[in-house]
């Protein structure tokens, strides 16, 4: 089955991103195909490389980056949501006159159309939120 995932909450405060990760990993290991992971609302905070959680805790951001590398996942941060919350890649930083970017490896920033397209192209779209 071809699935996509929407994640609506940031890391650590809510379990949404953890559960989405576990679901995605299990589905991929089971041979299913992931069309896209879309991060919306505070979910865009899953895509900052500046997070430094304690050593003895899971690193939610790095875990997504690693999974993306292993399975060539498409991790998309909503541009409008990311702008509000200070998540930027080099292009976005330049466009908005900022002197730094903070996007984590394996993530990209794009529009909400990517979420709608995921709904159209996938057999199932699963939301993980509060």
């Amino acid at each position: 089955m071809k699935f996509s995932v929407m994640i609506s909450e940031g890391p650590y405060t809510h379990q949404a991103s953890d559960t989405a990760y576990n679901f995605t990993k299990a589905a991929l290991e089971d041979g299913h195909e992931c069309f896209r992971i879309f991060f919306y609302h505070d979910g865009v905070n899953n895509g900052t490389r500046l997070a430094s959680p304690p050593q003895d805790d899971r690193n939610i951001i790095n875990r997504w980056s690693a999974l993306a590398k292993e399975y060539a996942l498409d991790l998309v941060l909503c541009v409008a949501a990311a702008q509000r919350r200070g998540i930027a890649d080099a292009d976005e930083a330049k466009r908005n006159g900022k002197n730094a970017d903070n996007i984590a490896p394996g993530f990209r920033i794009s529009g909400l159309g990517q979420l709608i397209e995921a709904g159209i192209q996938s057999d199932r779209l699963i939301t993980f939120g509060d």
Binding site: S8, A81, G111, L112, G113, G119, I120
Partner: protein, 135 residues
Amino acid sequence: MPETKKFLYVNRKAPYGTIYALEALEVVLIGAAFEQDVSLAFLDDGVYQITKGQDTKGIGMKNFSPTYKALGDYDVNKIYVEQESLDARGLTLDDLLPLTWEDEDDDWAEKDSIKVISAAEMAKIMEQSDVVFSF
């Protein structure tokens, strides 16, 4: 061209206090360009999103409720409001924004977009939808 799917946007939260309502509306407006079969559902505190007379001066936030009136122009004209959610909050259809659309197949007659339905009917609409976004 991709196939047409039935999209349902479920709005469950109050318009202010959290950003979900505003960002849900942004998805609906972008999604309207994809020519899918779109419906909106308002239930729980989500019914407050489309109430009349919203005044946000006191909280320093933008009142985005006028945007809902533009939905008809985006061909988003199936708006379902759950009766039980209205009842629980002492609201009636008269408390809601008059959301309308113009039917080009009926000499551009102005028609109501809002349908008040029961929770059981809402469940059926969810079941019949291909893609359900819950905000």
